[in-house]
Point group: C2
Chain length 390, copies 2
DNA sequence: CGGGATTAGTTGTATGAATGAACTTAAGGC
DNA sequence: GCCTTAAGTTCATTCATACAACTAATCCCG
């Protein structure tokens, strides 16, 4: 039985989340009356729910703004600062990262450590990450930590894991949660939700594109990950393994990653893979013929793969992230050309190619946002215990 | 504001639908007490909801079964026969079809007209279909018609249309709903919901696989359509254009349809396209080398395209429908081999290839089921007006 | 054949969440 | 200083579900 019985408490829970979401997603600081108008609930109901959220520490009342028009001045509502926070972490090929966001989306703490984690030892790397997490928790000790989430570049069972396969790290069947819990009390108390790096980056991107959150996010790192976002929801698949665009077979029977990945583009441009994507981008910006040809060739094949995705899923907007964002000015044209040529619905819904808008290292934001979404979806579980009145 | 305020009526609506769905999806005929146990609602609540549904004609009480054990015998509940019905229709390259289902899923009426509708005139064909619909409505005049839906082989805006493109019919930008309304009073009163043929066939297939409704449905007709089903929900995309697997670019840069479609397989086997898929299947069953080679070659390319889908969406079960179902015994092996070789997650979730279980011409069922799903999701809108008590 | 056990379904009261209308509070405008 | 305007609160009402006690209908067993 998938749908569950709705009891009376479900109503309150639903509306509590609705009110909280309405305030948090609003650009301005809405009053109780604004929220009532936006949600369709009555002022009385909104007041009761808001009072509960404020008492629980999930919303804050700001100082009344100077009145602009007649009538009693509104009490502006906003996300509370420094009460509830979520920690996002990431292990990737080139870096480890940790970021702490509060309910308003503000960054309370951030730490990025560059390194080379190809063919690395999981236990060592994860112990290092655990250290960063403990530091972050210490630095934000004044806030309640709602939970943690971890982005990984590979096939990972959504939620508890394990990590099945991370080709570019050289990891396979790693029980990440248990290893982390052994190195960090914070992570033992708040076991991280695991997810694919591209899926989490796409979640951050969806938050940055709230007005039209339907797109394919392509994350060009050493590998090529993708995530499909439909109406703000990530299509992660049954296990969480969706989005392996890098292993799409392209024209000559090879996987896309082998012909349009970071290393492949660098080699095609006559450069060493260790040179890095910035070197390639700089060469292309300077008009280097080999670099431009390499990027254009990769773009055409990427465009073919994306045309297949668009034909399959009816999502016409493509967002370039990761190192593809850095190359966007050169990649955009060949990708768009391939989409225009091969997308069946192009005459009625012209495909677009855009650059990612989310913060750098977006998966860190996405991971933290996953945790915060859990708080917003189940507010009553996170209301601070009220002090008993005397 | 996507999520809407939950008022008290939402609760009842939700639980009304839950109770109705529980009874309809049950294999046996559950009693009120069974429904209460299955849903978690109390017997009192279920009784009240069931009474309302029975009074409204959406559920029926059967004659009490002979008691098998101690205790008061249960009153079995079931879908009512011949009270509420839905009409599914289809225009395809080789046939027109109409089928009427009642809430139990039983076929009340069916009519299939074979023909060749390639490069046909939309107005003429749709007038012919309208005639079939009127006949069907006349033949089932004792039932309340909940609505109609129409399956079309091409890009169609989900719901009201128009039909953008149906390459194999040679239709483009046809306002199907208006044309049909002009030819049929029934369709004028119940404007058909339009959808893609493969999407609707997949819906019927999902109903036949209720125990594990997550799969990719591949419908091999003259074109190749696909539909992705996730947990019973069809991934139709924003406009309803998803699933254009036939236009996936495969190894040599041609669309899949051109190398693995019905006509392509026939030509590769040295047969005329007009011979039909049954001739090809018969030749293969007889061990004809050319036929077997043609099917195996198509299977390998189909497998490549499906491996890309599996890698992208993390759906590991493939269901062959349409003419592919007829060829399944020969297609299965090459498709499975390609999936095993190219699916990244194959070691942890081995791909499967199965034959469609739904009735023949499944899109007719799917279309009717779409309408019935609307009734189940909004039961109070379909409760027959109660007679005022004296 | 009659009482007890057992299960289905009903009745009536209690709970709790949202509603709606009247009310209070706090400003501006003339 | 009084009127208007708008925000927020109070309180009686409504309505769907929960809970518990009850009635109904059957089998089992002595």
């Amino acid at each position: 039985m998938r749908p569950t019985a709705a009891r009376q408490g479900s109503l309150r829970e639903h509306n509590l989340g609705l009110v909280l979401r309405t305030v948090l997603e609003s650009d301005a600081s809405p009053s109780r009356a604004d929220v009532a108008a936006a949600t369709g609930l009555t002022k009385a109901t909104v007041s009761a729910l808001v009072d509960r959220l404020v008492a629980g520490g999930l919303l804050a009342e700001l100082a009344p703004a100077p009145a602009l028009r007649a009538g009693r001045p509104a009490v502006p509502l906003a996300a509370p600062v420094g009460t509830v926070a979520a920690l996002g972490a990431e292990v990737n090929v080139d870096y480890l990262g940790v970021r702490v966001l509060d309910l308003s989306g503000a960054v309370l703490h951030e730490r990025l450590v560059h390194g080379d984690y190809r063919s690395s030892d999981p236990a060592t790397v994860l112990a290092r990450l655990a250290g960063l997490v403990d530091e972050a928790a210490a630095a934000t000790s004044g806030t309640r930590l709602a939970g943690t989430a971890l982005a990984l570049p590979g096939l990972v069972d959504r939620g508890v894991g394990p990590l099945r396969l991370a080709p570019n790290l050289g990891w396979r069947d790693v029980d990440v949660v248990t290893l982390l819990a052994a190195s960090s009390d914070v992570l033992a108390a708040h076991p991280p939700a695991l997810a694919n790096e591209a899926d989490l980056a796409a979640r951050a991107e969806a938050a940055a594109r709230r007005e039209d959150p339907t797109f394919v996010y392509v994350s060009g790192e050493v590998g090529i990950g993708a995530a499909m976002v439909l109406d703000g929801r990530i299509l992660a698949g049954r296990h969480g393994w969706a989005g392996e665009l890098g292993h799409t077979l392209v024209a000559d029977g090879r996987p896309l990653e082998a012909v349009a990945g970071q290393d492949a583009m660098l080699r095609a441009a006559g450069m060493e893979p260790v040179a890095g994507i910035d070197a390639l981008a700089a060469a292309a910006d300077d008009g280097d013929e080999a670099a431009l040809r390499a990027i254009a060739a990769a773009g055409e094949l990427l465009g073919h793969a994306l045309a297949n995705v668009v034909n399959l899923l009816d999502i016409s907007d493509v967002v370039l992230g990761g190192s593809y964002a850095r190359l966007a000015s050169h990649l955009r044209e060949p990708v768009l050309a391939a989409l225009g040529a091969h997308v069946l619905a192009a005459p009625w819904a012209p495909p677009t190619v855009d650059v990612a808008r989310a913060a750098s290292v977006p998966a860190l934001d996405g991971a933290a946002l996953t945790v915060l979404a859990g708080v917003i979806d189940d507010p009553s579980g996170w209301l601070a215990p009220e002090v008993a009145s005397p």
